[in-house]
Symmetry: C2
Subunit: 132 residues, 2 copies
């Protein structure tokens, strides 16, 4: 057993003896971040803070409904902040919190890995498809 494997497996699972249905720490994060849009939104906010409709235009193919939900979830978890500027018309600005920024670093590790192995994954899928 390598160091990396042992280290990675430690916190991936709930503590031994606890109810496995209880989401472990990782699941608690993944369940929120691993949806259709969260990473995309965080990615855009990593470049600059944005107002609602500006982000809506930037992403392009997300409905207002879903964008609203995604933003609220990210705000709820503390990844982003929501600032209302009193004016007419109203303006609401979304930005990464300090925690949100800190998440970009581990995220980058995954991105780099995905980037490095994307071709291998694609090839693996093709090979799998040809086999069956």
């Amino acid at each position: 057993m390598s160091e990396a494997m042992a280290a990675a497996s430690v916190r991936l699972l709930p503590p031994v003896g606890t109810d496995l249905n209880q989401p472990c720490v990782v699941r608690d994060v993944i369940d929120r971040i691993g949806d259709r849009w969260s990473l995309l939104v965080l990615g855009h906010l990593a470049e600059s803070s944005l107002r609602f409709n500006a982000m809506h235009r930037k992403i392009g193919d997300i409905s207002k409904q879903v964008l609203s939900r995604t933003l609220r979830h990210l705000e709820e978890d503390g990844f982003i902040s929501r600032t209302v500027h009193q004016s007419t018309p109203p303006q609401v600005e979304y930005a990464l919190t300090e925690m949100g920024v800190s998440f970009l670093q581990p995220l980058k590790a995954v991105l780099d890995w995905a980037d490095a192995h994307h071709d291998a994954i694609t090839q693996s899928r093709d090979k799998f498809a040809r086999r069956y």
Copy 2:
């Protein structure tokens, strides 16, 4: 803009000008890994290779159906290998591939982050709930 933010945002989005509906490299990975069980399965296989029913017992609250699907997806993407040992009764062994092992390292970065910020996220959720 910090280095980390700029670096993280680069590959998070599809190339400018391309169809945003096309999944970008990250989405291609997250869409597979970010489901209910994949990380859990990879976590168990990080400890040792396992046969089907052994893993079923270890995880406990996953149906055979879903475990089967999860394993096939991970195999399709090249994270795990599936080895059939001809015998009666048949035995099928699942193990991490080299690529699967290499993924444990970036994964660990996320795990460490999740571990370090889990309390903050929980508190953020509580605070959010009290506000509304």
